[in-house]
Chain length 319, copies 2
Amino acid sequence: MKVRQLTFRLLQVYADVVRTGSITATANRLHLTQPTVSQQLKRLREIVGEPIVRQEDSRVVPTEVGQALYQLSQDLLSRADVFSQYLDEYNRGGRGHFSIGLVNTAQYVLPRLLGPFSQANPQVDVTVEIGNRQQMLNRFERHEDDLYVFSHPPADDAVMAAPFLSNPLVVVGPENSRWANVNDLTMEALKEERFLLREPGSATRHTFDAWLYSAGIELRSTQQIASNEAIRLAVASGMGLAVLSRHVVADSPKGVQELPLQGFPLKSRWHFVVRRERRLPPAAYRFLSFVQGSLAQAFDEPEGELAVAELLQALKTER
Amino acid sequence: MKVRQLTFRLLQVYADVVRTGSITATANRLHLTQPTVSQQLKRLREIVGEPIVRQEDSRVVPTEVGQALYQLSQDLLSRADVFSQYLDEYNRGGRGHFSIGLVNTAQYVLPRLLGPFSQANPQVDVTVEIGNRQQMLNRFERHEDDLYVFSHPPADDAVMAAPFLSNPLVVVGPENSRWANVNDLTMEALKEERFLLREPGSATRHTFDAWLYSAGIELRSTQQIASNEAIRLAVASGMGLAVLSRHVVADSPKGVQELPLQGFPLKSRWHFVVRRERRLPPAAYRFLSFVQGSLAQAFDEPEGELAVAELLQALKTER
DNA sequence: TTACACCATAGATAATCATCTATGACTATA
DNA sequence: TATAGTCATAGATGATTATCTATGGTGTAA
């Protein structure tokens, strides 16, 4: 058999001829003329190298080889069809895979979106990458993920970003901290305290540093710890104060409390970030749609909804 | 996906690209130029309606959809390949089906050929049709079988026939028949006996009738029984004499014996008969080859071998 | 026997395909 | 920063394909 010349079209036509038992009938059903179908059959026979049908009592019936070929056709066509359905489902976003890169702090809130999404879309695989801001920037540069969450989107013409959730940075101290009930507490008052800070690549650290710089304050004593969780525990055990996302604290507030420092919380917002030129996997698109629809209930953050809607719109026209 | 435009050739090329991870490499392996392969990929992408590969570090890697397409390709190609192998096997005659129509008496000897053949070719299905000469002639006229065994091939230009085994017709009587030891026994002496005969459509009957006619003898008393076996039993129980194929008697000689009648046994031979215009299924061809090779051992009938060899030769050039 | 239904073949044509060579863009490596 | 390797695109061309209309053969049914 000359496999290379075999076409699915030929198999379709052939299968229909076997089903109807008539060349004319197939021609009508497929909106072709009778000679066209005759010739397709002839070509298929040449490809197979063997007679595949014969005339029998005004019916066209497959030969023994034709029978086997018919079964093959059915098989192949239905497999192609399954693939076609998979494609549709993939394009609808109900199936497939995407990866999302999260800056550390975002890991405290994203599960509240990803969880329900995965439940609603069990056929979608999501890979979640987590790292500090710098690590995520590197991944972003290397195009490693489909979607990112940053508090400060990278400055790049090629990015599209939509804020979706506020990320207030607060100062926390140990439970029953002596600063807890001070009125008009200022950073000036705290500058002698030891501050437990994330590593320089971190967004929280960066934001705080920028704020300190603009306020003209220099801290006396700092210690670097590369994990929000470790910082929280260290604060709870009295090692010092820290600046953390309020979401980190809200998630497991044991042993720490927010201090009512003036100028705090520092405002920042998480953004969904995608590359303009990257074709977003449909599943990721679907995730964003899902997020847009559930932001209101999940976080009571209606402005975010709008921004995400705009992002979706932009992505849609992009296609 | 535009299934109708899908070609196995495209899948072959695509699968190779995925395997090698290089368009150039595939081009070399398939004896094409690089742009050709590039364009095949492009066309496949258009058929699928979705990017299927992307460049990654000087390698071509499939996208998510491409992965699925690759698996599909493998699957479809290997199925086509299995079919191709089936075809080869079919053409070699080692697989498939054929039907053979036997005249009644031949059923006593054909198993000795069909049995070993089936053992040697377990994938070949044989349908054996049995009937008297007239019934077989009808089947022959209607092209119902691939191969026939007649003692007298139908007079038809379109037939090819090869004798392969002698079929002596003998007169039998009951065991200890008073005729058994008579010297120079002639039919004249037996004309008062009751003869048990097959029905007029039967070949044995026909041959015997013709012989009687040419000898100018008319039987006094006959009885018609439509089965060799029943005739044999009737003879054994003393109902009369009969003319039967010696093979029938040899097969189960209980209660009957051959009578030494002058002019007997009547000579006749079985022939394999095929229609000239009919494309013989390869399995049937293989059966004939097999027969040719085993006639000598099975029956000690070397002339038959030659005739069958000629038939095979004729069939071969026919193709 | 005639009429009809069904199929095959011939001949024509526009579209598509498979393929090539030439060239340009991009990327990693010497 | 050359250089080589890898792809993509453009343009050309002969082959193949899909499709039609017209016509003729064959078998079935009225």
